[in-house]
């Protein structure tokens, strides 16, 4: 009995495997598939998972990669609306969105050639759409220091939509990503731009130099002004201090009023000392003490105050 059970199990396993191989197929999450009955595609598209079919040659399954394919467009020259030529290249992400249409165009091709052939067909649509859309926009919608003027999103969406309309209907391909990957000026314009850039930079250098020299001059001039201001303030404060000194000194002037002539005489002596301190050339004669010693000896009276030696200008104190 045990022998029969095992035989049955083995038979069932082998049989089921063969049947599954002939009558079932899987569609992966990253694939789309088309079921063909006698070569005619069924509109009922199998979703990712396990499905049954009749064996070949009655039914056949074709699977296509549904992941994004990223292709790079050619470098094309095109005029903008304001008659400025630009060169551009696009980065395009596309995928199979209509397996039936895709199968109709590329189903018979070998799997390794299929995607490249598909891109070759739709690339023209993208190029045509790009040229048409660029002709509706000015250059400053692509290049401008005013960010609000830039219309990259609108331009890219327009190209994508225009390309999608044709590619989806004809080839079952949808564009899911379209980006400008290069944007430049044509070679002829580039040379002019180089010349302009050099001229602008030279002007910029001159401007920077002039501004720098002017700034340095201003800084130095400010330094002089600040110095003068500080010194002026210092002098002002110095005058105030002197004034305070004079005012304070004046408090002691009361005693001078008792004998103004004597006070003035004392002041003159001090002034003489102060003013003839250095680098003075002086001519003296015998009338000036002590040079009177050249011409005469002591003329006074012992124990009496001398009057002969008193200066003519010297005021005598009044008692």
């Amino acid at each position: 009995m045990r022998k029969h059970v095992l035989t049955v199990i083995v038979g069932v396993v082998v049989g089921v495997s063969l049947l599954l191989y002939m009558f079932a197929f899987q569609v992966r999450e990253s694939e789309v598939a088309v079921l063909l009955r006698f070569g005619k595609a069924s509109s009922d598209l199998p979703q990712p998972g396990y499905h049954f079919k009749l064996p070949w040659p009655i039914e056949e399954v074709r699977k296509f990669d549904s992941r994004i394919n990223v292709s790079e467009g050619r470098f094309e020259e095109t005029p903008t609306r304001d008659k400025r030529n630009i060169t551009l290249s696009l980065c395009v992400g596309w995928r199979v969105s209509d397996p039936l249409a895709f199968n109709q165009n590329f189903g018979r091709l070998a799997e390794e050639d299929r995607m490249q052939q598909a891109w070759n067909r739709v690339e023209g649509y993208v190029r045509d759409s790009a040229l048409a859309v660029m002709g509706q926009h000015d250059l400053n919608e692509l290049v401008s220091v005013d960010r609000d003027k830039l219309k990259y999103d609108a331009i890219e969406d327009s190209i994508l939509q225009a390309s999608n309309d044709r590619a989806k209907k004809t080839y079952g391909i949808s564009f899911v990503l379209l980006k400008l990957r290069r944007l430049e000026l044509p070679e002829s314009a580039t040379q002019n731009v180089y010349k302009r850039m050099i001229a602008e930079r030279n002007l910029e250098a001159t401007k920077i130099q002039q501004e720098g020299l002017a700034n340095a001059t201003v800084i130095r001039a400010n330094a002089t002004t600040e110095k003068e201001k500080l010194l002026a303030r210092a002098r002002s404060e110095a005058e105030a201090l002197k004034g305070q000194g004079d005012a304070e000194a004046a408090q002691h002037f009361g005693v001078f009023a008792k004998n103004p002539a004597l006070a003035i005489y004392l002041r003159k002596i001090r002034a003489l000392q102060e003013t003839l301190k250095t680098k003075t050339t002086i001519i003296v004669d015998p009338t000036i003490p002590p040079f009177d010693l050249f011409s005469q000896g002591f003329t006074g009276t012992i124990n009496k105050p001398s009057v002969t030696e008193a200066p003519a200008v010297s005021p005598r104190p009044t008692n």
Partner: protein, 421 residues
């Protein structure tokens, strides 16, 4: 030698059924044994194969991996596995798709010259072999908003969003596995970065980003690239973008370098001028000179703005700071203080002398004479040149001629003829 028959069981009517039965039984028994043995072996093999088949469902996920389990090719919610050992039914029931989640780095050299002008010149000059072009370089440029051109070398580090299983599934659905997946992933990220670079550069002035503030451009490009990847829902995120090189094309580089050199020279000139200013201010007012200079600038600014309150505040601060001033200010103030002190002390002294003299009138004349002679002595001692001329004895009323000059050589020259006479 006669050949023996191969068949041990003889044919012909001579052989009776009763004679062969044991032989059949023995053969049947042997066959049964052989079949039993074979069946046992087959059973063992089948069981072994079944076990091996089932054990094939064991798989490990590395720390920098995630794994998606597809049941009959379809993804079922929650079947993304983290690091560890897991089990899934072997193919064709389940299929395990490993997805690397570690960061990837991509160099984008599109906007770079293939071979620099210098390298070409070197080749021409020295007969060297042409250097290898930069990988991925297309001699492309990025146009700035003010219609200048820049070239750049970019690096982008990106990865599948960590701790996000949905991102892993999105990545598988959009980009997928295998060599084709790798190529598409690279093209997608490179294309999106190129797009972000030209788009963001096109809105900036050249000197807003070159030679300084490159990080402004990098930040904008990163943001733009992230938006593109998010919109595509491919599960990728940008970890870091680096702008390895940014410079104008070779054709205009000299002009840009001149601007930079001039800028640098002017910056140095400004620094020099500021140092000179500081020196002047320090000479004028010592260590607080710079502070006082700045206060003056603020004071003028406040005056221009008509802000009297601010002017007063600055004035008060300056008054305090002024007390700490050194340099010429200190000299002026010091002299004033000295004057003040002297004038007061002098007045005090004179007053004291006056007071003393007035109290002793008999000594006044003697004191005054002494004071006069002392003063004359002091003055004459300090004199640079002294001439004694006795006019009283000069009956001829001769004219006294003096040659006065502070320069000794002139005096010598002038007096020489006289001496020689």
């Amino acid at each position: 030698m006669a050949e023996e028959p191969k068949n041990p069981v003889p044919d012909g009517p001579a052989n009776e059924p009763g004679d062969v039965q044991p032989a059949f039984d023995e053969a049947s028994a042997s066959l049964a044994d052989a079949l039993r043995t074979s069946f046992s072996v087959l059973t063992f093999i089948i069981v072994l194969l079944l076990v091996v088949f089932l054990l094939q469902g064991l798989f490990t996920v590395q720390s920098d991996q995630k794994a998606i389990i597809l049941r009959f090719g379809a993804y079922e919610e929650g079947r993304v596995k983290d690091q560890g050992i897991h089990y899934a039914f072997p193919y064709p029931i389940d299929r395990v798709v490993p997805i690397w989640v570690r960061p990837r780095k991509l160099e984008v050299n599109t906007f770079w010259r293939m071979i620099s002008e210098e390298a070409k010149d070197q080749k021409m000059e020295k007969g060297r072999e042409m250097p290898k072009p930069v990988e991925g370089a297309e001699n492309a440029v990025m146009l700035t908003g003010d219609l200048n051109m820049l070239q750049a070398q970019w690096d982008v580090t990106y990865r599948i969003r960590p701790q996000d299983k949905k991102a892993v599934v999105d990545y598988y659905r959009i980009i997928g596995e295998g060599k084709a997946g790798e190529i598409n992933e690279e093209r997608l990220v490179r294309g999106a970065l190129q797009s972000a670079a030209i788009r963001e550069t096109a809105s900036m002035k050249v000197f807003d980003i070159y030679p300084r503030n490159k990080e402004v451009l990098v930040e904008a490009v990163k943001k733009s690239l992230e938006e593109t990847l998010d919109r595509l829902q491919c599960g990728l995120e940008v970890e870091r973008i680096t702008l390895r090189e940014l410079r104008p094309p070779d054709q205009v580089r000299q002009a840009f370098d001149n601007v930079l050199a001039t800028s640098q020279a002017m910056a140095e000139l400004r620094v020099t001028a500021n140092r000179e200013r500081e020196k002047v201010l320090i000479e004028t007012a010592g260590e607080v000179g710079i502070q006082l200079g700045s206060s003056l600038e603020k004071w003028w600014a406040a005056k221009d703005a008509g802000n009297t309150e601010e002017m007063q505040k600055i004035e008060d601060e300056m008054s305090k700071t002024f007390l700490l001033a050194g340099g010429q200010v200190q000299t002026i103030l010091g002299e004033a203080k000295t004057y003040k002190s002297q004038v007061v002390e002098s007045a005090k002294g004179d007053a004291s002398i006056m007071d003393s003299l007035l109290k002793n009138p008999a000594q006044i004349q003697v004191f005054l004479d002494h004071a006069r002679v002392d003063a004359l002595q002091e003055v004459l001692n300090a004199c640079y040149e002294k001439y004694y001329y006795n006019a009283a004895t000069d009956k001829a009323h001769r004219l006294l001629e003096l040659w006065l000059n502070r320069r000794p050589e002139l005096i010598r020259a002038a007096t020489k003829p006289i001496e020689s006479r």
